[in-house]
Amino acid sequence: MKISVNGQTRDVDVEPDMPLLWVLRDELGITGVKYGCGIAQCGACTVHVDGLAVRSCQLRVGDLDGEVTTIEGLGTPDALHAVQAAWIEHQVAQCGYCQSGQIMAAAALLDTNDNPSDDDIDAVMSANLCRCGTYPRIREAIKSAATSLRSV
């Protein structure tokens, strides 16, 4: 089947019930998207489908209907997305393993709400687990990114 990832159409020969996560990681070699729990509890696998944050461990590739964006498609080291730039400015990451998912969740939040309150941030970001405990920096970075996106 054909799927669209980061602006490219890719051919994959997989079962329709394979989760998008594993199609991306093991079939297409896109490893910015992470496996953490497999049951939508940690959010490390968060990608965008047509701009909406989706847990790719729960989306069967056969049910995919839309353009997939992973962290690699959001921005690159040479062309950072505002959320990534804020993550670097605030030095959010410790181990960093959850941060792809955190960044994708935050980018989707800011896409619909360019001035989120603490409660707004809590409502969305509480679904993403960080075992290292970088939550205070995640909160600051989201506010920073919101400011910079509003000024664009």
């Binding site: 093991d26 992973t70 950072l80 990534q84 030095q91 405990g133 970088t134």
Partner: protein
């Protein structure tokens, strides 16, 4: 090259006076200098100056032997070297380095011995001597125990300084300008005429120069990097999804495998039937490994799916089937025959108790806890006839060489280990079962690289968790003051369980049974701390802060019961009892930061705790509100004494993370066993703290002490008792058992 080896040995003696004082193996360490691993395989244009710096045509690579599991170890090690070497952090590469005895971790081996309060006869602790010896024998390249900074603070700067002075000598030889006229800056030697020579152009000359032996380290007033905010070397890749973690790594021709182990922890597999699994798409093989099977496929998810289609006949776990029997074993160990240590026995608690009319007593419990780093454990192993190659995130590369050698029959030197970035550890990657199992699979398909990835469920159920622990306290008060405190702690030995898996036996008491309790900075007139060694139950391992992770709660919670009975203020009474100036300053700092002035009222409460662990005095104040939805944690104030804060940004991040880690597990995490099987297998039942529960945290690093210490673990132990005390102040509910959500709701 021979002279470089001499220097290698010399480097370890620099700032390492304790080497000669090592209990049994000091002579070994001195008598048999470890070879410099970087001298092997050097190209024509490469010269290895010290084990920590490699300079070649591509520039400067700093070797950072302590692995990075997220704590910023690569950055902090690079900064220590770069400070003296005069290179900028954005000019250099970091390389975790090959496993080698030369990278032994002195601070890890002597954790406890050097850090304990003076005058307590700690040198007599057999555990430290034996453990130190064991680690030294194995080469000691271990990351853990918040030791990266104390181990490297002098050693790495000394390495940088020696390299810098050698490069100046090389430049002097090349140009004829006296070395004393030369300066160094940004990876170059600067000549008086304004020209400069990049370090990389001096590498081959430097290789033949005897490094100066006694270069003085720069005064702190001259530091360019230390103490100033740094950008982590891995922050851009970690913010763009471009960092390759162990689980992301790919080797050409690699197959994807997963594992199914007996759900009854470390129980045997009697038989299995994989006939259905083998019919599934992409499944290449199902092979037996110790305690289960490896499922080999062309895609991780296919391996996960096939794993569920295999039928097994499992044997029982070799420890009590029911959780109540684990607690019973701990309770029964409070007897004289099971005394492991009694390193604190001030005054006479029995005499004080005979005099009092109101003996206070309580019992406390701390559960098994999974490490559960977000990246599940994984390893890639390829076995060939004449060697093995391993790619994995690990804290113990030397143990891996030995263990793979044992399984394959190869010499450890034929086992090449690549240490990869880790998505967290918290102690999980001090174990190497995943590598042993991947090796067992790879032995059955020689020449093919096998990537073994645990499912989250296998990872959590087969984690070797934090120790289960129980404490019993008695105490008395007089005239509004704490008069006597008798604390007994019962737990199995973490060190014995962990080292047994490496084939090592550790004689003598286990200091972890009383860590964070016997050595606290409070001069209670009658104070006794006794460690009781419970029998081995479920296999356990080092979990962030190890013994202190449970004992910090026990000690502070017991003390709080006494202070409450005395009618005293928890912070003022701690200050009154405190007998170590650095600890007092930590308490004073959190008092000031929180505006501590007694009770808060209106459904709000605050609590304070201080634990000295890994040499660091860490004080925390937690504030909570009792809301209709449950307990809301509003604020946390933390002050920690570390001697020197190397990077204030990473320090702040690690302290906040440690507080969140301590609070989250105290709130809602435990591993319990039913029929030897862990009841918790994923994050829906082992949640930790989430964003909406996270308090505002204020952090202050204190630099009054003379030793530079690590901060990875010390913020964890005081978090739980400070939270329990705050909840008591807000609700009147005394929490004596973790996790607290069994007794109160959290908003």
């Amino acid at each position: 090259m021979g002279r470089l080896k001499t220097f290698t040995r010399r480097a370890f003696l620099i700032g390492s006076t304790a080497v000669a004082g090592g209990v049994a193996f000091g002579a070994y360490a001195v008598g048999k200098p470890h070879a410099n691993p970087l001298l092997d395989g050097l190209g024509d244009n490469e010269a290895a100056l010290t084990p920590y710096v490699r300079i070649d045509g591509d520039g400067v690579t700093l070797i950072t032997p302590r692995a990075d599991k997220g704590q910023g170890a690569y950055s902090v090690q690079a900064a220590l070297i770069a400070e003296e070497l005069d290179v900028e952090l954005d000019q250099i590469k970091v390389d975790p380095g090959p496993p080698a005895p030369a990278y032994w971790n002195r601070a890890f081996a002597e954790e406890g011995a050097a850090f304990m309060a003076p005058g307590d006869g700690i040198a007599n602790w057999m555990t430290h001597g034996a453990l130190s010896a064991a680690i030294k024998t194995m080469g000691m390249q271990v990351t853990g125990g918040s030791t990266t900074v104390p181990d490297g603070f002098v050693k790495l700067r000394q390495a940088g300084a020696a390299a810098r002075e050698t490069l100046k000598l090389a430049a002097a030889q090349k140009t004829g300008v006296a070395a004393g006229e030369l300066k160094t800056q940004a990876g170059q030697v600067m000549l008086p005429d304004g020209t400069s020579i990049p370090y990389s152009d001096l590498a081959t000359i430097a290789a033949d120069i005897e490094p100066p032996q006694d270069t003085a380290l720069r005064d702190p007033s001259e530091w360019r990097l230390i103490g100033k905010p740094m950008q982590r070397v891995d922050i851009v890749p970690k913010s763009t999804g471009t960092l390759n973690y162990g689980v992301d790594y790919k080797i050409d021709g690699m197959v994807h495998a997963t594992i199914v182990l007996n759900p009854a922890q470390i129980g045997p597999m009697n038989s299995f039937d994989a006939s259905e699994a083998l019919k599934m798409r992409g499944i290449k093989a199902v092979v037996p490994v110790t305690g289960g099977v490896g499922v080999v496929a062309n895609n991780t998810w296919r391996a996960f799916q096939a794993a569920r289609a295999i039928e097994f006949d499992w044997g029982p776990a070799p420890f009590p089937a029911a959780m109540e029997d684990h607690w019973q074993a701990l309770a029964e160990s409070f007897n004289d025959d099971a005394i492991d240590s009694r390193k604190r026995d001030d005054g006479n608690v029995e005499h004080a108790f005979a005099e009092t009319a109101g003996l206070i007593s309580a019992e406390f419990r701390a559960p098994y806890l999974a490490h559960a780093p977000l990246e599940p454990i994984s390893a890639i192993v390829r076995i060939d006839e004449d060697g093995a190659e391993i790619w994995t995130g690990t804290q113990i590369p030397r143990f891996i060489q030995n263990n793979v050698g044992k399984i394959t029959g190869l010499d450890p030197d034929q086992v090449k280990v690549h240490v990869l970035y880790m998505g967290g550890s918290f102690g999980h990657r001090l174990e190497d079962e995943v590598v042993k199992q991947a090796t067992e699979i790879a032995m059955q398909m020689k020449g093919t690289p096998v990537k073994l990835t645990y499912s989250r469920e296998e990872d959590m159920v087969h984690d070797f968790p934090r120790q289960i622990a129980m404490a019993r306290m008695r105490g008395s008060v007089r005239d509004g003051k704490v008069e006597a405190y008798d604390l007994g702690i019962s737990m199995p030995s973490v060190v014995a369980s962990q080292m047994a898996r490496q084939g090592l036996s550790v004689p003598g008491p286990d200091s972890m049974i009383v860590a964070g309790a016997w050595d606290q900075p409070f001069a209670i007139p009658n104070l006794r701390v006794t460690g009781y060694r419970a029998p081995e139950l479920a296999p356990i391992s080092s979990w962030r802060a190890v013994g202190a992770s449970s004992n910090g709660f026990f000690y502070n919670a017991g003390l709080d019961e006494l202070i409450h009975a005395a009618g005293a203020d928890p912070l003022e009474e701690r200050l009154r009892l405190c007998n170590i100036p650095e600890a007092r300053k930590a308490l004073e700092a959190v008092a000031e930061m929180s505006g501590w002035d007694g009770v808060l009222g209106d459904g709000r409460g605050r609590g304070v705790a201080l634990t000295q662990s890994f040499g660091v005095h860490c004080a925390e104040v937690i504030e909570v509100t009792n809301t209709d939805a449950g307990i809301k944690i509003d604020k946390a104030y933390v002050a920690a004494e570390v001697g020197t804060v190397i990077d204030p940004v990473n320090f702040d991040n690690l302290v906040k993370g440690g507080v969140i880690f301590g609070l989250g597990h105290a709130m809602n995490c435990e591993i319990t066993y039913t029929d030897g099987i862990a009841d918790q297998d994923n994050f829906h039942v082992f949640e930790g703290m989430r964003m909406h529960q996270c308090p505002v945290i204020e952090v202050r690093g204190l630099e009054n002490g003379s030793r530079t210490l690590g901060i990875g673990e010390p913020p964890v132990p005081p978090a739980a008792p400070a939270l329990a005390a705050a909840i008591f102040a807000a609700t009147g509910i005394r929490l004596r058992e973790m996790p607290f959500h069994k007794f109160v709701d959290f908003a």
